[in-house]
Symmetry: C2
Amino acid sequence: MSFTVLAREGETRARCGRLETRHGPIQTPVFMPVGTVGTVKTLSPEELKTLGVEVILGNAYHLYLRPGHQLIAELGGLHRFISWDRPILTDSGGYQVFSLAELCKVTEEGATFQSHLDGSLHFFSPEFVIEIQEALGADIIMALDECLPYPSSREATRDALDRTIQWARRCKQAHQRRDQMLFGIVQGGFYPELRREAALRLLDVGFEGYALGGLSVGETPSMMREVVDQVVPLLPEERPRYLMGVGMPEDLLECVTRGIDMFDCVIPTRHARTGWLFTSFGRVVIKNARYARDESPLDPACDCTTCRHFSRAYLRHLFMAQETLALRLNTIHNLHYYLRLMEQIRQAIREGRLAQYREEFYRMRCEA
Amino acid sequence: MSFTVLAREGETRARCGRLETRHGPIQTPVFMPVGTVGTVKTLSPEELKTLGVEVILGNAYHLYLRPGHQLIAELGGLHRFISWDRPILTDSGGYQVFSLAELCKVTEEGATFQSHLDGSLHFFSPEFVIEIQEALGADIIMALDECLPYPSSREATRDALDRTIQWARRCKQAHQRRDQMLFGIVQGGFYPELRREAALRLLDVGFEGYALGGLSVGETPSMMREVVDQVVPLLPEERPRYLMGVGMPEDLLECVTRGIDMFDCVIPTRHARTGWLFTSFGRVVIKNARYARDESPLDPACDCTTCRHFSRAYLRHLFMAQETLALRLNTIHNLHYYLRLMEQIRQAIREGRLAQYREEFYRMRCEA
């Protein structure tokens, strides 16, 4: 397991790299589709491979609750359970505990919460979250963090930061599996000096990769980018940088430019299921009546399975008739869009023309 | 367009045939998956082809209501609209009008009904049903019939039979497209002499194929088989015989033996979506807790994509988590089961060992 920077873009912080895992390599910058409960919703592993997906994300919180990390361990681990032989990253459950679970109570020891499924009571300590993730057996795992919404007071942010650092230390201590990379998470909210402190103290603990957490929690895109601008220069060049839960296509482009290597987000998959589709000329809301008789592909510039085989009229019909095939065809298209975007970004970095690529990216959307 | 009987099973009425259409051949006996609104629920056309599906069914009633037959005609017909280049059969909507729509009122002229979608009022005459099906452009289309539930009085059955024959005549008269085969439907309920009369009068009108309608409407399997036994001997050897809306695997086997060439039914696809799976050793209800830690494939004797790649434990997990991938993997398996059953039946007929095959079929289920 190692991370190598292969190319840098002179005028920005953007870079191309290669993350080696025991389930194969990941080319960065990378977008990781979210497979919450052991499936990227609507898609099979085979379809993900056809799309060129190199790594998917699994949620420790969801898999712990259902079907249970021990059951998955008994059945040979998450890769085998879901029939996916490429890399997996699992998050620690920190974000879900604070955003999804009910009645969450945090102490120094950990977080007590009620399951969103049945209201049952659970407790996540840093040690237990590592135990869960070791049982799942992902290639990259995350330390437990305390994630706050925006806005949060300086005091609450400071407390969460302190706890996150302590928990990070305990996670590192507890982590045994040498075939997994453990990443720490920089918190600190929207207070530059707290972000700085969080980064420096986390570096002091020392991790194989560094994530920026506590973003996409209600702030504006420009605030999110400012935090990235503050934190990235503090992180070591030789470690991967992962921006958690972000974002829209333009966020990916802007944050790669600011030095981010890894992204995950439910936007392409969740938006697909609501009929919001990403195209080279901007957004398409497929249920719009204007597509009822439209024989053209969703995006004539796209070569995904959906665009190669089906018309806008058919996609709209399936969506209006609430057919599950609609969700799948939409998901294939949106993920293809995200993956192709990252591929183009990587190529632009390697060829030293990222600025030009950005300009084209925005021009195409404005002209449409 | 033609139908050729290629092999007969000496001791039974079973036969193998080949139905030629402008979208390619159909080997009979055949099972036709139901693609109600222009998709076999959860599956893509590519997956249907991988499964070996040679013909699918579309519902004139559903497609007329949404997205509309004229829209589909404008977009080049149903095959093109749904990206399926193999044969399609559309039913006339008779069954849906009487079973699904609200406030159906029948006169000699036709049937007035309210849409199940929005309560809007519609009128199906024999001529209009042919117009719809010509617009959709299926390879095989059906005459409008009046379909009664079981039980129905002799008088109601007799009236429905008279109307069905008159409507069949008008359908034949109205039908213009020479690239479509038009099938008539034998009604007559569960009154042997009415079934006989229906068959003879329909033969008198003359169709390219004959369907048995009004079955699977609440009667027992043995009553259904009795009707097949009564009607089939009255039908011409050189025309395909289609048993509408049937059935369970054993129904297919029993009715092939009784001389049926074509079947359609929602059972494999609908049962799949409720977690009811067909296997070589009988039914599997995948949500059963006994499968939670079961690493074996759904059916070790099956070579479908689902059984080759996923465990019962994972299928159960997906189903419990209400993931749409569960519905798809289940549908693939159940359709594979039905298609393989028909393939084995065809082979047994060709090799003159259908009795032996039936015996094995039942023995395997009893032993399990």
